[in-house]
Symmetry: D2
Subunit: 178 residues, 4 copies
C-alpha cells in the first residue's frame, strides 16, 4: 500500500450513488474520510464491513468524517453491473455515497484499488483532513480499533497507533487471486 502519512492517491471512479455530485478526495479536504472498498458479492463485505460503515455514519458527525463506499470489482465483472449495485444499495438500505471504481487499463483490478495496492475486499482506508493516508486495513477491523483510529485522526494527532493492528482477513474476505 502507499506509505502511511503520505498523500493518499486520488480516486478514479465512473459513477456515484447517494450523492448529488461525484466525490473526489481533493473535494473532501478538511474532513476525515473512511473509505470502504467492497464488492457486493463478497460475503465479508456484506456481513461485516458495510454494517460497520453504517455504524460509523451514525457515530461520528458528517461534518467531521465522510463515510464513502467504493465498489472495487476485481472478479465477476459482468455480474456486478451498476444496475445490480443500485438495487443492492437499495435493498441493504445503504445511504452513504458509493462510487464505482474505474476499470483498470490492464488486468482485472480497478484503478483505485490498484493505485492503493489493495489486497482484496473489504479494505478500509482512513484518510485525514489534509488528505494523508493514515491507515489501510484488509479484512475485518474491530470496532474498538476503528473508533480509536478515527478519533486520533479527527484530533490531528500524529499517527501513533497504540491499538493492535487488525490486519488479518475476516472469514469471507475476498483476496485478489495471485
Amino acid at each position: 500500500m502507499p506509505s502511511l502519512n503520505d498523500p493518499a492517491p486520488s480516486w478514479t471512479t465512473t459513477q456515484w450513488f447517494n450523492t448529488a455530485k461525484p466525490l473526489t478526495l481533493e473535494g473532501l479536504r478538511g474532513k476525515a474520510v473512511a473509505l470502504y472498498a467492497f464488492q457486493m458479492l463478497c460475503p465479508g463485505c456484506v456481513s461485516q464491513a458495510l454494517p460497520q460503515a453504517q455504524r460509523l455514519r451514525e457515530t461520528f458527525p458528517s461534518e467531521a468524517l465522510e463515510v464513502v463506499g467504493l465498489h472495487s470489482v476485481f472478479e465477476h465483472h459482468q455480474a456486478n453491473s451498476p444496475a445490480t449495485l443500485e438495487a443492492f444499495l437499495h435493498e441493504y438500505r445503504i445511504d452513504f455515497p458509493v462510487g464505482i471504481d474505474a476499470p483498470g487499463s490492464e488486468g482485472p483490478l480497478p484503478r483505485t484499488m490498484f493505485d492503493y495496492r489493495m489486497r482484496g475486499t473489504p479494505t478500509l482506508v482512513l484518510i485525514d483532513a489534509e488528505g494523508r493516508l493514515r491507515r489501510q486495513v484488509f479484512g475485518h477491523a474491530p470496532d474498538l480499533n476503528v473508533g480509536a483510529e478515527i478519533t486520533r485522526i479527527l484530533q490531528s494527532a500524529p499517527n501513533q497507533p497504540t491499538a493492535t493492528p487488525a490486519d488479518d482477513c475476516a472469514a469471507g474476505a475476498c483476496s485478489i487471486p495471485t
Copy 2:
C-alpha cells in the same frame, strides 16, 4: 398458499445451477424436498435462509431430503441476471441445486412464486415424498422447528405440527409490495 397435504404445485423454471439436469418436483418423488425461494439481494435470505439451507444439506442425508434453491425475483429484475446469480452462488459457496423461477405471464411475480401464493422471500416450502405440500413459511423459520418438521415428513407421519408455527417475518425478509 395451496392447501396443506394437497399436491404441491409444479415448478416452472428457466435455468438451473449446481445440477446436471433441471429438477422437477415430479422427478423428486420418493424424496422429501426443502425448497427455499430467495432473492440474492434480499438481506434476510442471505443472512438466514441460505445458511439454514446449507445446514440442512449437512444434517440430513441427500437420499432422503433434497435441498433446492429457487431464485424467485419479484423486484429489480434487471439487477438479478443469471450471470449475477451464478457469481453469487460461487462467492457464497452454495452448492445445492438452484433453479431460476420463470417470469410470470403478467405482473412482476415469477410463475412458481405465484402458483404457491408466496408472500415474499425468503419462503421455505416442505414437500413430502409423495409430493404433498406439508409446510410453507414466509420469513425466518427457527432451526428447531425445521428439524422437527422435516423429521416428521421423513417418517411419513401425518401432519400434526406440534411445534410453534414460525410464520412472522424475520428482519430483512422481503415482502411482495401490496
Copy 3:
C-alpha cells in the same frame, strides 16, 4: 455413557427449583425428556445450552416433552451453592424444573453425572417415553439435530440417527479434568 436404547439411569438429586415436587425419571414415564446437565459458571452452558433448553420449552408441547435442568457441579463446589443457583435461575429467567445433582460418594463428580458417564458440561441427554436413553451429547448440539432427534423420539421411531452427530465440544464447554 450408558448404552443407547437401554434404560436411562435414575437421577439422584438433593433439591429442586421451579417445580412443586421433585422430578424423577420414573415419574416422567410416558413423556420424552430432554435433560440438560450444566454448571452455572460454565460459559458454554450459559451462552448455548440453557438458551437452547428454553427454545425447546417453547417449541414442543410440555405434555409430550419435559425439559429438565440438572446442576451437575464437578468443580468449584463451594461457589455453586443452592442460594447462588436460585439467584442465577431468577436472573436468567429460567423457568423449567432444575434439580441439583447429588454429591458423589467419592471424588468431585456428582452422582447422576457419574452414573451417566458424562464427560463434562453442558451435556444433553434425550430419553424416550419408555425411559430409554436415546442420545447423549457433550458440548453444543445444533438446533436442527436436536429438533430432528426429539421428533424421532416423540414418534417412537426406532433410533436411526441420520443427522450428523454433534459430539465435539463447543468453545466454553467444561470438560472433566483427566
Copy 4:
C-alpha cells in the same frame, strides 16, 4: 451521576482479585481508567460488558489504560460470595483486576455504586489520567463509541463527545429496583 469533568469519587472496596495489591483511583493517577461495574449474575454484564472489557485490555496498552472490574452487588447478596466470584473469574478467564464494592452503610446498594449514583449494572465509567470523570454509561456502550472516547481521554483532549451517547440499556442490563 457525579458531574462530568469533576474528580471521580474514590472507590471503596473490600477485596481484590488478579492484582497483588488493592487498586485505588488515587494510585492510578497518570493512567486513564475504564471501570466496569458488574454483577456476575447479570446477563448483560456476562454477555456484553465483560467481553468488551477484555477487548479493551487487548486493544489499548496497559501503560496508558487500566481496565478494572468492580463487583457491585445490589441484589442476591448471599449468592454473590467472594468464593463464587473467584470461581466465576476463573471460568470466564477474566484476568484484569477486579475489586469487590464495599457494602453500603444502609440499603442494598454498595458504597462505590452509591457514590457514583449508578443506575444498575453494567455501568462503564471512564476516568482520565487526572482522575476526572469523563463518561458514565449504564447498559451497553457500542465499541465504536468506547474506542473513540478512550482515545479522546488518552490524548487529554477536552471532553467534547461527538459520538452518539450510548445511554440506554442493553437487554439483560440490571436496573436498581425503584
